[in-house]
């Protein structure tokens, strides 16, 4: 099962086994990782599952679909490596992915 590492803004590391097919957001919510709110439940409608993807991973991820960048406009302190974790579907290729959780979601 792919391992995903979530790092909170106060530098706590959580490495979790997440089933293929779940999203990085679901992996966080189901394992009670703090800082990912996912208010809209994965509909790409709220930007409260915002994460920063570490540089070496950013280019390996599937590209953003229409609308994701628009939603990131709304996110708290967006950066060039911002993604919405509800749009990142876990697969073997994502094994070892590291995401940083912002200090706030809104």
């Amino acid at each position: 099962m792919p391992k995903i590492t979530y790092i909170t803004s106060d530098a706590k590391n959580y490495t979790i086994d997440v089933d293929n097919g779940l999203t990085v957001m679901e992996g966080a919510v189901q394992n009670d990782i703090p800082g990912i709110d996912a208010d809209c439940g994965g509909g790409m409608a709220c930007a409260t599952c915002h994460v920063y993807v570490t540089e070496d991973w950013f280019d390996k991820l599937p590209k953003k679909e229409d609308g994701e960048e628009d939603m990131i406009d709304m996110a708290f302190e967006p950066k060039s490596n911002s993604r919405l974790s509800c749009q990142l579907i876990v697969s073997d290729e994502l094994d070892g992915l590291v995401v940083n959780i912002p200090s706030k979601q809104g």
Binding site: D37, D39, C40, G41, G43, A45, C46, A47, T48, E69, D70, D73, M74, F76, E77, P78, K79, S80, K104, Q105, G106
Partner: protein, 338 residues
């Protein structure tokens, strides 16, 4: 003081259908919502997105679903209190006294919280110091544009609100329009207008910048904006406006003494009552073993909570279950029978 059999907090799909169920069984109800329109998340977050899992409705958008629910309420003439946020709930004898931020108050034996993920509030600028200028030099909506006359206004955001206000205020103010990337997501016509005004020097367009700092003592004097490469620019400005859409916050409900688990309220599955007698929670905001955050679950929860309200609103009457197909009582309430 508004007296009612039940007060519904939240005018999303669950709140609307709960109102339908209350009126159908002969109870009065009123609905409060912090948004300025009916529909909740369906209208605010995904008015144009198709929904495929409403029973017997193969496909509809958030807006269509809302309009259909409003139509279904037509026979009942329900009173909506929009742009009102519920602040306080207090027990007084057998009733709950509910107060809103604008001073409206309600007395009711039944409060049904159909609040979704919370009330919609504007998203704010990240720097903490912005708070002290809020509603003085920093705004997240425009109530009176005259205050900007002849002043420098820095507008942040990439959607229609930011673009529309940049165009509008460029007639009376010096406008900086600041956005985190080069692409805007507003209407093309407005975007063309912004580009034209930028060319003619009426709008100072700054893309790939974000707000990092605000300066001033009593009122805003200047702001610092930073681009992706770390370059910081200082802008003299009298006002800053942020248009980053809305976010949902549980707000004052968190302080009502309800059992709350991860921003949701624990209820039983018979009445959808919380740990406080006469306060119910339905829809996305409630939780119980097996809870599904689906609109259809909200409808079911509202129907049962409405029946539970009957007992407290009409303690001396007995509730009788009836079908709309056959009951002349129900048909009368629906306006289908004299």
């Amino acid at each position: 003081m508004n007296k009612t059999d039940a007060l519904i907090i939240g005018a999303g799909p669950t709140g609307l259908f709960t109102a339908h169920q209350l009126k159908l069984i002969g109870l009065n109800c009123e609905v409060v919502d912090n948004l300025d329109k009916i529909g909740g998340q369906c209208i605010e977050l995904y008015p144009d997105k198709p929904i495929y899992d409403i029973p017997a409705v193969p496909e509809c958008t958030g807006e269509e679903l809302t309009n259909n629910l409003i139509n279904q309420l037509k026979p009942f003439g329900i009173k909506f209190h929009l742009s009102e946020r519920v602040e306080e709930v207090k027990k007084e004898n057998n009733n709950w006294i509910v107060k809103t931020n604008n001073g409206k108050s309600f007395s009711t034996p039944n409060v049904i919280i159909a609040g979704g993920v919370g009330s919609f509030e504007p998203r704010k600028f990240p720097p903490k110091e912005c708070e002290k200028f809020e509603n003085k030099s920093i705004f997240y909506s425009v109530k009176d544009k005259k205050i900007f006359d002849g002043k420098t206004v820095s507008i942040f955001g990439g959607g229609d609100s930011a673009l529309d206000w940049a165009v509008e205020l460029s007639k009376i103010s010096n406008v900086n329009l600041v956005h985190r990337r080069e692409e805007f997501r507003g209407a093309q016509a407005t975007l063309d207008k912004v580009k034209e005004l930028t060319k003619s020097g009426k709008i100072n367009l700054l893309t790939k910048y974000q707000l990092v700092n605000v300066n001033g003592s009593n009122k805003l004097e200047s702001i610092d904006i930073k681009n992706d490469d770390g370059e910081i620019k200082n802008l003299k400005t009298d006002y800053a406006l942020g248009f980053f859409g809305l976010i949902m916050q549980l707000g004052p409900i968190a302080n009502w003494g309800l059992n709350i688990d991860k921003k949701t309220i624990e209820v039983d599955t018979e009445k959808f009552e919380t740990n406080q007698k006469g306060i119910y929670a339905v829809g996305d905001i409630c939780t119980y073993p097996g809870k599904l955050k689906l609109i259809l679950s909200g409808f079911h929860e509202g129907a049962l909570a409405a029946r539970a309200c009957f007992k407290l609103a009409r303690p001396n009457e007995k509730y009788r279950f009836e079908f709309t197909t056959t009951s002349s009582n129900l048909l009368k309430r629906l306006g289908k029978k004299e």
